[in-house]
């Protein structure tokens, strides 16, 4: 940890007062985001919608990584209030991949210290196939219940939800909020499929469409969850995927 010669500012555990001798430029040189090319112009900070919130400054974060202040970056709130929207990188004259750098910093957080429910939801998805730990029978009940509601609407008579249909043309995933608080929003795509005469299906297990490893920087979890969807496609012999999440 860098030795401090003055108080930190704005809630972040670093600040203008770090001894030069405590810095370690090159420590993160293997990171593939071009952070060492920063010319400190500040365009990123001007473009960023959360510059100044909790003292956040994307330029400062890039410089911290370039100077080897890894622990300070990892313990800061900054990487988590950034949404990785990429406006900074789109405007950066040195083409530094700031969202990629932010995601790497997120990945270095202790998993138990990942803020909010992000890692808990991801752990649930890895264990149970969905972020909610929703049992299969409850999930199927919800899908069939919503399908019955659609079938009551004019023009959609006889509508049913095809679960695990082998040889369908399209497989689609489900966002967990659509079988939780927003079941009405299941209907839009299903109605379009019906009107188009589409041959489609949804999986009965491992149906989670969100992949929170993207947010927490967990590449292994991302591969596992994506691999499950690919496995569905192979098992059901479906060649097209609709992944709206």
């Amino acid at each position: 940890m860098a030795e401090r010669i003055s108080k930190e500012n704005d809630g972040i555990q670093t600040g203008p007062g770090v001894a030069v001798t405590a810095l370690n430029p090159g420590r993160c040189r293997s990171w593939p985001f071009f952070q060492d090319f920063c010319i400190t112009c500040g365009i990123c900070a001007s473009a960023c919608p959360v510059s100044g919130v909790e003292g956040f400054d994307p330029r400062m974060l890039v410089r911290m990584i370039s100077l080897g202040m890894e622990e300070d970056a990892v313990s800061a709130s900054w990487p988590w209030i950034c949404t990785m929207c990429g406006k900074c990188a789109a405007l950066c004259p040195m083409d530094i991949d700031i969202p990629g750098l932010v995601r790497r910093v997120r990945s270095l957080r202790e998993r138990d210290a990942v803020p909010g429910i992000l890692h808990k939801g991801l752990a649930a998805a890895l264990e149970t196939g969905n972020n909610l730990r929703l049992p299969k029978e409850d999930y199927v009940f919800i899908l069939e219940d919503v399908a019955e509601e659609i079938a009551e609407e004019p023009g959609f008579e006889g509508f049913t939800v095809p679960i695990d249909k082998k040889g369908a043309r399209i497989l689609t995933t489900i966002h967990n909020k659509l079988v939780n608080t927003h079941t009405e929003d299941l209907k839009h795509w299903w109605k379009i499929f019906h009107a188009a005469g589409e041959d489609w299906t949804v999986p009965s297990e491992n149906w989670e469409g969100t992949n929170w490893g993207y947010f927490t920087g967990d590449d292994d979890a991302m591969k596992t969850l994506t691999g499950r969807i690919a496995a569905h496609m192979e098992a059901l012999q479906v060649h097209t995927l609709l992944w709206p999440e």
């Binding site: 919608p49 959360v50 919130v53 909790e54 709130s77 988590w80 209030i81 950034c82 949404t83 990785m84 929207c85 990429g86 406006k87 990188a89 789109a90 991949d97 969202p99 932010v102 803020p115 909010g116 429910i117 992000l118 939801g121 004019p154 023009g155 959609f156 966002h175 909020k177 929003d185 209907k187 839009h188 795509w189 109605k191 379009i192 009107a195 188009a196 005469g197 589409e198 969100t210 929170w212 993207y214 947010f215 927490t216 709206p244 999440e245």
Partner: protein
């Protein structure tokens, strides 16, 4: 797009003809997709929107310069809620300047964020609609 182009579905353009709709580019479909995969999905959703209604107005700035809603990157689930609401101030300035009463988005995170914070910016009446919801609402079914 395939369904519309090949006439597998028909859409009623008059359904929302009296509404003032606009479109929001999600960062991961636009700017970030262009960076990661070489193609930003900017024009495709706009084409679909134009099949659902004759008149709608784009936000300014848009496409590569679109302003983030503030709900991406897992922000809805980190617990940094005050920061997330503050983040959206520029988004709502932009929507207000456009004069829209309906905002069409093709992203679950954007949809969740915009709906959750619109009341904070005095725009509780703004209708936030998924792009596929708009299509479903415009379907002509026999």
């Amino acid at each position: 797009m395939d369904y519309i182009r090949n006439k597998r579905i028909r859409l009623d353009k008059s359904r929302f003809k009296d509404r003032r709709a606009t479109y929001h580019d999600p960062c991961n479909y636009g700017r970030q997709a262009r960076r990661r995969f070489g193609h930003g999905f900017f024009e495709e959703p706009r084409w679909i929107l134009s099949q659902c209604m004759d008149h709608w107005r784009d936000l300014y700035p848009n496409r590569m310069n679109q302003i983030c809603c503030g709900g991406g990157g897992g922000a809805l689930s980190t617990g940094y809620n005050e920061q997330r609401i503050f983040y959206a101030r520029r988004k709502f300035d932009q929507i207000r300047a456009c004069g829209a009463d309906m905002l069409v988005v093709p992203c679950h995170s954007c949809h969740g964020q915009l709906n959750a914070v619109k009341g904070e910016y005095g725009m509780a009446d703004l209708e936030v609609k998924y792009l596929w919801e708009l299509v479903a609402d415009c379907l002509v079914v026999e």
